[in-house]
């Protein structure tokens, strides 16, 4: 049985619902040794800022129970190098490119989108308003409904490409952010970014991560991510990209049933760089075995 795996995120048509999450595959160079990037739905680039960012000093990561904390600090090559070197590479591979942008001011978001909008290879923007690991440009926006409204509105003014607002789970009202994003013209929201967490060494009494706190990702957060997707899906009529702890095709299908139109693979890439290809096989088989001819038919089929 042939299965139609394509899904739509607003006007963005994806071959299949599998995206590689921002910050977990760089700009595709290394992961392309394991994954045929032309075969999966798309790649979301590491958050790009106007100028290159060095990122946080080490130690940047630490393992936790079924999870990991990271405080990379949005280390990235900056807009210029991204355009010159990274975009052509991804274009050659034939992958669908979603560009994730992080900034320390509303103006910087706007300027980035303005410049990048010309790049044909970029098929959509994911606006990161939810990075917990930098003072400016992250959670400071993600936990402020008005800031998210403003950013969405301004960015919308600069591009007609699909805009995805990446939401923070570190608040009690993710629905308000999704609503405002929709209202200000976003095409979709992605949920979730990492949860704020920390870990200390009981002998040195120092935080294991130099930045003190980091963002928690991995299977540990899957129940929280699913609950956030469910919450948004119940209250707001906007496509949702589900993220958080997806390790295999079953997790992915769970997100779609709960309400996600597509999903992103993050931490799993570190442990099994082929995870996205295996998930592609897995969801295809799931559809075949359950005689689902279009995967988009399972979106939001939850029974509650």
């Amino acid at each position: 049985m042939s299965v139609d795996l394509s899904v739509n995120i607003g006007s963005l048509k994806l071959k299949n619902p599998i995206l590689l999450a921002s910050g977990t595959v760089g700009y595709g160079n290394e992961i392309s040794e394991f994954v045929d990037l032309s075969k999966i739905g798309g790649i979301v680039t590491k958050s790009i800022s106007l100028k290159p960012r060095k990122g946080n000093p080490p130690q940047r990561i630490v393992e936790t129970s079924s999870g990991m904390l990271n405080a990379i600090g949005l280390a990235n090559v900056g807009l210029e190098l991204f355009i010159k070197e990274k975009i052509p590479f991804l274009k050659n591979l034939g992958s669908t490119l979603i560009c994730n942008i992080a900034a320390s001011s509303i103006e910087e978001y706007v300027e980035c989108v303005d410049i990048l909008d010309k790049e044909e290879t970029i098929k959509a923007f994911e606006i990161n308003v939810s990075c917990p690991n930098v003072k400016e440009g992250g959670l400071i926006f993600g936990n402020d409904v008005k800031a998210v409204a403003k950013i969405t509105e301004k960015v919308r003014g600069k591009t007609s490409k699909p805009i995805i607002i990446k939401l923070s789970p570190n608040n009690s009202n993710i629905v308000d952010y999704a609503k405002i994003a929709k209202q200000e013209g976003a095409d979709a929201v992605s949920a979730i970014n990492t949860l704020v967490g920390t870990s200390f060494d009981i002998y040195s009494k120092k935080p294991k991560i130099k930045n003190i706190t980091g963002g928690l990702s991995g299977p540990a957060i899957k129940p929280v991510a699913l609950a956030k997707v469910l919450e948004i899906s119940k209250e707001v009529d906007i496509p949702i990209i589900g993220i958080g702890g997806i390790m295999n095709w079953k997790d992915a299908v769970e997100f779609m049933i709960v309400g996600a139109s597509a999903f992103q693979i993050g931490t799993a890439n570190f442990i099994n760089p082929k995870a996205s290809m295996e998930i592609l096989d897995g969801i295809k088989k799931y559809c075949q075995e359950n005689t689902i001819s279009k995967i988009s038919d399972i979106i939001r089929t939850r029974k509650i």
């Binding site: 910050g23 630490v62 990991m68 280390a75 299977p219 570190f270 099994n272």
Partner: protein, 251 residues
């Protein structure tokens, strides 16, 4: 870079808390270079979640050997593997020690389990090159000689070799061999490497070190393993290293 399930061929204790794991890894053999490492999944579930990085310690026929010390959950699981068990390995990763024929004398300095990469490095040294191994341990129980020759010891408690650290041992040794054209390869705890950096900088001795860092991916996609270079930029230990010229980095 390949990901494969491989079978455990042996897993022997060679010193206190120190094991030698042998796996069949035919397909990797043509590509592995001394100084490189593998990122190993010690289980097939999410506990622990991440892979664990281990240097290539030796290559024997179609097999790769890893020498490891039990320090936490992951290495404890590894130590329980028996012949026939499967583990999943990702590699080879990183750059390599740069061996050339020009040095008269190579000194390999291993602090504790930092000795791990040297058996394979020794095998790859040109025959013309003389070498000695300086092996620093806390106490005699940590001593073994797997794949090593010409070993001099230092120990914290004086139970084996000189009582003192590897830098003191190096200082004595350099006087003894009285060679001009020396090159050092070193691996061990950061405080040792920091002291070595000061020493080799002062004496202007060529030195390459293999660095460690917490790692998530091991191949450049997580940005989790930065090390500052002398220009105050970050390099990735997993991709730009783990081997660095000691002059190029801030330890």
């Amino acid at each position: 870079m390949l990901i494969k399930d491989v079978f455990v061929q042996s897993n022997q204790k060679i010193a206190e808390n120190t094991f030698l794991l042998k796996v069949n890894a035919e397909e990797y053999i043509p590509y592995v270079k001394p100084g490189q490492f593998f990122n190993i999944k010690v289980n097939n579930n999410s506990y622990p979640l991440l892979r664990r990085p281990f240097s290539i310690s030796d290559v024997e026929g179609d097999s790769i050997l890893f020498m490891y010390k039990v320090v936490g959950e992951g290495t404890r699981i590894l130590a329980n593997k028996v012949v026939g068990d499967q583990i999943n390995i990702l590699g080879p990763l990183g750059n390599q020690f740069s061996i050339n024929e020009s040095s008269n004398h190579v000194i390999l300095i291993g602090g504790g389990i930092g000795i791990a990469p040297f058996p394979y490095l020794i095998k790859q040294l040109p025959n013309s090159v003389k070498y000695s191994v300086l092996f620093g341990v806390r106490t005699e129980k940590e001593v073994h000689s797997y794949g090593l020759k010409n070993i001099l010891y230092s120990s914290d408690d004086g139970t084996v070799g000189i009582k003192g650290n590897t830098i003191e041992l190096l200082d004595i040794h350099l006087k003894q061999i009285a060679e001009k054209d020396v090159k050092i390869f070193a691996c061990g705890p950061n405080p040792m490497l920091k002291a070595l950096q000061e020493y080799t900088n002062n004496k202007n001795i060529e030195c390459e070190v293999s660095m460690e860092s917490a790692m998530a991916c091991g191949f450049g996609i997580c940005q989790g393993c930065p090390i500052e270079n002398k220009d105050n930029n970050y390099k990735l230990i997993c991709k730009d290293g783990p081997v660095f010229n000691i002059r190029d980095i801030m330890i």
